[in-house]
């Protein structure tokens, strides 16, 4: 398992109630390094989510780095986790990564209830970046 995934799972294991998990998720979103406002435009918007999600990808030394944002706090937390998972990996590593951390941290059920939060769309987008 990707060491970032381990870290996320480890942090979430301290929280038991869903309130705490969401509070932590929201905190992760707040702490995420911000997306340069110039990328907060329709070109980087992931269509089809209830809240707006922007995802920007930068390539450095054969590794991909992701930056993102959302107008909803919970979604922003999801973005933060996804970025933590995939940022700094090579294309190959990204395409191989299939650990379902959301399942393990106990939020998958909640977050996958609707297409609305775009969790799957975000992961698809990241894999697309890696495929190009």
């Amino acid at each position: 398992m990707n060491s970032q995934a381990n870290k996320i799972i480890d942090s979430f294991s301290f929280f038991h109630s869903w309130e705490e998990k969401y509070e932590y998720l929201i905190e992760l979103g707040r702490e995420m390094s911000p997306l340069n406002p110039k990328f907060k435009n329709d070109n980087y918007l992931i269509p089809g989510c209830q809240s707006k999600v922007w995802l920007y990808c930068e390539k450095k030394n054969k590794k991909l780095y992701f930056y993102g944002d959302s107008d909803a706090l919970i979604t922003k937390g999801i973005v933060a986790i996804i970025i933590q998972l995939y940022s700094g990996l090579s294309k190959k590593e990204i395409l191989l990564e299939d650990e379902d951390v959301f399942e393990i941290i106990g939020l998958r059920d909640h977050l996958s209830m609707t297409r609305a939060n775009g969790l799957n769309l975000m992961i698809t987008k990241i894999k697309q970046f890696a495929n190009n």
Partner: protein
Amino acid sequence: MSPLDINIIRSKFPFLKTIKNKDFIYFDNAATTQKPETVINAISNFYTNENSNIHRSVHRIGAVATKKYEDTRWIVKDFISARSAEEIVFTSGATEAINLVANSFVKPMLCETDIILASSLEHHANLIPWQMIAKETGATIKMLPIKKAEFIQNSLEQEELDYTINLVELKEFLSTHGDRVKFIAAQHISNVNGGIQDVKELTKLAHSFNIPILIDGAQAAAHIEVNVQDIGCDFYCFSGHKIFGPTGVGVLFGKSLLLKRFQPYQYGGGIVQRVENASTIFREAPQNLEAGTPNIAGVIGMGAAIKFITNVGLQNIQKQELSLKKYLRSKLNKIEGISIYQGHNSLKLNKLFSSPVFSFNVNGVHHYDLAVLLAENNILVRSGDLCSQTFMRVLGVSGCVRASLSFYNTRAEIDAFLLSLKKAIKLLKG
């Protein structure tokens, strides 16, 4: 009429009393309602004891099924006070009913200079079909004028924006462009704010310019009495699943003379009189508009749902909903930073109210976040654009949370909802 005992009512809805669902608070009734056991039993009984195809069989069971299916046409006719059962077409829902009118009636008479009027308050189901046929024929779709800027004072609420169709402005528009307007489509009740349109006056106005009109009653039929003769509209539609019936079935009411002019847009079995190698003589409406084997169980289930509503009494339903609505409204008002988008215009109209639909936003909080946290508390609401992006634009928001009630909801549920809502706001505001 005796007042309703809500505990008895709730006990008739298996969904509301199963152990698994007992803790859910179902506030998503505008999306779909729960089903009473009489509806579930009617469907189950059909498949268990009467399952056979209709309009085809010579055997007794087939005759029973045919009779139940055709009886439902009469039940629907009485429910909406149509003139005759021939005016009732069974569809898969309100969406199909609207698409049927658009494609089989309106599209064949459109040309490039023509105009279709719909409103920006519509559900996508009552907007996109019109856009599509306009695109295909080169006709134009224009928006009905709405009042929104006018403030109205009423007993229940403070000043609010009025989202009803502006008949004065519409009349002016029709006076100059009336001959080009070939069709009007409008909602009866909004799925966003529960506001009720004055569809009777709207119809009168349309007819004074000889324009046929469709009223989308998807959000109305479970809440207010619908009388299509009184409204006078040419077409009216609703879905079974929003009136305590099954999904996948709905109704198009159409005046007989107009239905006869429909060009079926689906062809198949059950709609023909005589088929030669190269040509076919069709049956008359409504049968020619129900090609193929229909949703027989669904239609029978919808019939049971209508009987259920009639037995409970729409007046009882309204009374209950008005009381719930006032209660929720008074409490919601106290939440800091809340904007409630609620129709209120109907007080005068139906001596009633808007239907108990509460769409809202809380300042500084995203509707998606609220809905997720409410769902964690087992409170089922809807969030997003509510299939009404144009209405969202009128409201100046990208989406909202919608709590939509039905008469089987309770004050205790409202209290629990409010508690969770406050908790969620607190968590999100940090």
